[in-house]
Symmetry: C2
Subunit: 735 residues, 2 copies
């Protein structure tokens, strides 16, 4: 019966991409805090933004050459030197700034050094304003300056106040980006009712705030906007309010209604038979995937991979091998944008890049039996922020899933033509909750060598205040709430290594042609209209910013032109579009000018560089005009034939909200994916080697029974182990 | 524990769309055979093509108004009159023809009448040549005339002969269409080695045959093609063969190799742990869907529907209701095209329309545990062809499936923000094997009102003979075999009735705009680039031949502009693209000139007509120039605002074959789907009413435990019932 997974044996005993342990982090923090470092650090527990403090400590991944040198013969070589990347906020500097450092080798000893990490960025300085906010609470000084003076109005207009007290009935949200190039830090504050599901309770009241620099006394209110009216000051607004010139929004019936934004089950008659638990998958003969918890290495049906996890983007997969061959060196999400539209200062100003918030840092425990099947094996993850380390025991889940359908089958008539192979898959999942939204990252491994990378969304919309001039920018989902139009685009780094690191980019295209042949008959005319395939190697990076062809007539693949399959064809893996293969609708918006240019395409392919580890950075959010990582700079005219290539592949969704997005968006429609799938990589379909398969033989004589071969695999039935009682622990924090 | 499903109670005790029973069919055949009908019928067991005989008997579905009249109050009204559609081949007529008849009402009695069924077709006569072939064996007379004279050559060139004997080592295939407009019947015969997986063993030898009319003595050989050389006669070919002027194809190493086209497991080391059975879903507390076998009515979680089944296209779904409201009157596949390209007479001449072969008639028993999970409930289907009736006990399977992921979830911080609803779905499946190909039809019902309609393919490629001039038309998958480039497009009729039968077609589109607002700051310039939605009702059918917008920026929905949801928005259902949302690449080919024009679009919407029950017919295959059903004629300028509308929606796949298509195509990539999904149809997400859900409450004080509500649904663990031994019965035939 199922239970603990069998133990995996990783190809090398050290995971070169493992996260830092809490002990390593403590040692690094202590070492940085030592007087000889002269960093003048303030402990995280009592920092202000005018202090120097450690914002983040994370593992810095080794150079690929170093990791491969180790992996190629782990008995002969030690693992690559281990380094930490440390982000320090120099708030106490005369000109405050942020700096990334490399610290290592680890563990800390006499040889440990520190240097500035700059080679992975496209500008030297990280402006302090680009930091956004460390916590939203740092904005409180100016809000508690402004809002009490507006309380009389907000009470009457919105039935709420924000006095800076725990029982405030209005709560602030801020939109990003907060800067264009780092020269300022300004945001639109929007107010929401302080109730469960507050994201769907905006009141339609906006403050534009300047919070540049580190001295809250210099911060100021720039504008107030209410119902399309603009005021330059509190006084101007209150004068209009008292004087009766303020054009008010109509009172609406749902201002008191909060049930609809709760996940509490509505009090309706349950559906027929829903009081019974639904079907539950059980591996009656035991789990068929292996896990090594120490290295976070997993294997299943010829697949093997190491897991990584970091603050910026959470789960990543490393050294993915299939049937003994390395296929992908690194598979890792890079960034998630959500760009909004609207007719109010909040929605028309929002362009989120969620790496800024930390999609790994915001992972919380998944719910056994709900987020993942009961049988799933959970793995922990730890990240290290300015307040300390946080571990979740259920950051990642792994389970084998019966898709309920065969991967291949045929019903023929001759011997050997009749049978099926069952469609099992291995799912590796992590869910990140970034404020209102929940992103489900699924990596789905299949028996034939295919991987589906799938991202789904749930959680709350970033709602807007609904009134008629919002028409065109979304949909009313309640009397005074709308879902605002926005695009999601999420970028993945896929460092495919097809039969070795030297690969080329193949573009396959089909089009219609008219041809003539000597055998054509007058019956059908002298020509035939038919399809034809054109295959082309794209030789230059500058031509590798790609969109799927019209009507998906062809596509893109990485191939190794020096490694042919048995039929003489370059072995390859195709990037096959899955659900919702879209790119960003808006091009050229100032709020997303150059900080997410990968989102303009379905995918792009560049030469792999140690200096280009990621398509984004946590500061890109607030530097659209002058980003730390400028994706387009990767594409500098280099040749990409038989080089080590990286594919940067997008998923996404045009989110036109609708009533059914309340209370939470449904993952079944809010889903997007791509496949990485063998393209003449093998000589034939290798999933035919499955034992969970059947082959039927037709009767020798009519009337005889059909016989079959099931390769000795029989369904087992026994009492499955009891499902343990549901339990949710939450995170473990280490100060 | 699981086992027999609980019993369903259909809304009406008679399924108006039920197939004919064997007894009904026998009675109809007997009635037709009576001397007073004067049809001069020959029994199916001994027909030749020069006889009159019953080719097919099937249920003719009632008029929608009649069916609804019954369903609206089944206690007050009887079911609609029952009719059969009978296809008779009048081979004995002076000018042979095919005729469809309507016979009824049933059961047969004094009131039963017969009339010609013509109102559903766009031409009166069904030409006898459009019948294609009744069985491929009818071509034998001419082949046994030709091939023995070629045996010396075929033995030497292909190591095979076709002498018309059971042990023939070459076997014929024929390509379609066999006619352009019914004035002739001609086909390219291609020869394959007579081994398992023969589809992948073409030898590259082609005969062009005229088989017009019913007298084989008038049939003749028009051309022989081998290695791009054309011969007008056997003599000419044999002269070249003996004289040494024949340019031969090179001998290739795999001419003897047949293992690779078998589904027999290769003799390789099994994968790690694959000797264990994979996870198996068990409904430990019993199945949660209901089935009424008598009416073939099923229900699950607020969904209910009747099933239908017919010879042409197999499974169809009727009167689909959700939460008490009719949503879809009819959901039924219509046609499946496969249009090939190539550099030989076979592949460049092939454009299949599989309704011709009978996608329902070619359904065979599914394999329990492989084609459907062990828990699946199977339902039978019966079809009636010229040789008699055939029943399969496992034509349809139904099962509840745990998708392994939540349909919604969020992790918030406030009361009511934290929880998940489990993502169960109900799958209704049928698999049709049409010669080489297996089509998996999946209808996937979800808790929120969404249906995913998904088609996947497996089975054998229609292979071609590989030589270098085929470059551009496919890929070598073996030394002498190629997979040929082709497109699949499959059309579904979806008679959505959104809050009643009167609906309109909404086109939603998004584009970029540049706007200015009074509150804009100089920080970001005086304008903002953002998205905006345009919503438009398409008023005329002629504008309703549709492709998805560029980058999927918007889409199509059927809405009822007179039925608003609580927020004032027209209730609707959207057609949301799923996997591989493509249309046919080739437009204007003579072999697909006007018989499958639906394939030029992603979808189309027309006014519903009793005279337009289907987008195709079984004779469309062989009448590209003058089809029985000309889809474009549906689009005759009618207004489609608040009318009863039908959406004709396509799935499909550009099939660029690859080595991994051998032996059989993989369903994971060869898959295409669309979603029918509520679009402001509800006031909120109604899947929130699920009991298989969890809601967590944060601790009242830090350190306290999280508490939760699971609505009383607990995992049950007990011994599941034993999985019965595998058994395959095959079809039951009634002569
Ligand atoms: Ca470059
Ligand atoms: Ca690479
Ligand atoms: Ca019409
Ligand atoms: Ca309708
Ligand atoms: Cu969204
Ligand atoms: Cu195909």
């Amino acid at each position: 019966a199922s239970g603990l997974p069998p133990h995996a044996t990783p190809p090398a005993p050290v995971n070169p991409w493992a996260s830092l342990t809490v002990l390593e982090t403590v040692a690094i923090a202590d070492w940085l805090d030592a007087p000889e470092r002269a960093l003048n650090l303030t402990p995280g527990s009592r920092v202000s933004i005018a202090d120097n403090f450690i914002y983040h400590i994370g593992a810095f991944r080794p150079a690929k050459a170093d990791a491969l040198f180790y992996l190629d013969d782990p008995s002969a070589h030690g693992p690559p030197d281990r380094y930490a990347r440390v982000t320090i906020h120099h708030g106490a500097a005369a000109e405050p700034y942020v700096q990334d450092y490399l610290i290592g080798p680890l563990p800390i000893d006499g040889k440990t050094g520190i240097r500035e990490l700059t080679e992975v960025y496209h500008r030297d300085a990280i402006p302090y304003n680009a930091r956004g906010y460390t916590t939203l609470a740092e904005i409180n000084p100016i809000l508690t300056d402004i809002m009490p003076s507006l309380a009389e109005a907000t009470k009457e207009l919105f039935d709420g106040v924000a006095l800076g007290l725990p029982n405030d009935t209005l709560v602030a949200g801020a939109v990003g980006p907060l800067s264009f190039d780092g020269t300022f830090r300004r945001t639109w504050i929007n107010w929401r009712r302080n109730v469960p599901g507050l994201w769907l309770h905006p009141v339609g009241f906006f403050l534009y705030i300047d919070m540049s620099g580190t001295d809250p006394r210099e911060w100021r209110l720039l504008k107030i906007v209410y119902n399309h009216q603009v005021f330059d000051s509190v006084e101007e607004f209150m004068t209009a309010f008292h004087g009766g010139s303020l054009k008010r929004l109509p009172k609406r019936p749902d201002s008191k209604d909060v049930e609809w934004t709760s996940r509490t089950r509505p009090d309706t008659t349950p559906r027929d038979l829903d009081h019974l638990p639904g079907p539950r998958a059980v591996s009656f003969a035991g789990l068929r995937f292996r896990v090594d918890r120490a290295t976070q290495y997993i294997s299943w049906m010829g697949w093997g991979m190491y897991l990584g996890f970091d603050r910026d983007m959470g789960l990543s997969l490393w050294d993915i091998r299939f049937k003994g061959e390395r296929l992908i060196y690194e598979l890792a999400p890079q960034e998630a944008i959500a760009q909004y539209a609207g007719n109010d200062p909040m929605q028309s100003s929002t362009a989120w890049l969620d790496r800024y918030f930390g999609m790994g840092g915001s992972v919380r425990d998944m719910l056994p039996g709900y987020d993942c099947p009961h049988e799933a094996v959970f793995l922990p993850a730890t990240t290290h922020g300015f307040t300390g380390s946080v571990t979740r025991q259920r950051a990642i889940c792994i389970f084998e899933h019966d898709t309920g359908r065969p991967i291949t089958r045929h019903m023929g008539y001759s011997q050997g033509e009749f049978g099926a192979v069952k469609g099992y898959v291995l799912v590796v999942r992590s869910i990140s909750t970034v404020g209102n939204y929940d992103y489900l990252f699924d990596y789905i491994f299949q028996l034939d060598g295919t991987i589906e990378v799938k991202l789904s969304a749930s959680g709350y919309l970033q709602g807007g205040f609904w009134e008629s001039t919002q028409e065109g920018y979304g949909t009313a989902i309640r009397d005074t709430t709308m879902g605002s139009l926005h695009d999601h685009v999420i970028n993945f780094k896929v460092d495919l290594d097809i039969a070795g690191p030297k690969n080329s980019l193949l573009f396959t295209n089909t089009a219609q042609e008219e041809v003539s042949q000597p055998w054509f008959e007058d019956d059908w005319g002298s020509t035939v209209l038919q399809q034809k395939i054109t295959r082309k190697i794209i030789e230059n990076e500058n031509d590798a910013l790609l969109r799927y062809p019209q009507n998906f007539q062809g596509g893109y693949a990485l191939v190794n032109t020096e490694a042919l399959n048995r039929w003489g064809i370059a072995r390859g893996y195709a990037v096959h579009p899955g659900y919702s293969p879209i790119y960003n609708t808006v091009v050229g918006s100032k709020r997303l000018l150059n900080n997410a240019n990968w989102a303009r395409y379905n995918l792009a392919v560049s030469r792999r560089k140690e200096t280009e580890p990621s398509s984004s950075s946590m500061w890109n959010q607030n530097l659209p005009g002058a980003p730390m990582v400028d994706f387009h700079k990767f594409f500098d005219g280099e040749n990409i034939t038989q080089e080590d290539l990286v594919a940067w592949i997008n998923v996404g969704m045009h989110h036109l909200p609708q009533a059914e997005d309340a209370p939470n968006t449904r993952t079944n429609l809010a889903t997007s994916s791509f496949f990485l799938t063998p393209l003449n990589y093998f000589d034939e379909d290798i999933s035919m080697d499955a034992l969970n398969a059947i082959l039927l033989a037709p009767p020798e004589r009519p009337g005889d029974a059909w016989t079959y071969e099931d390769y000795g695999v029989k369904a087992v039935h026994c009492v499955p182990p009891a499902v343990p009682p549901f339990e949710y622990v939450g995170v473990e924090a280490y100060g």
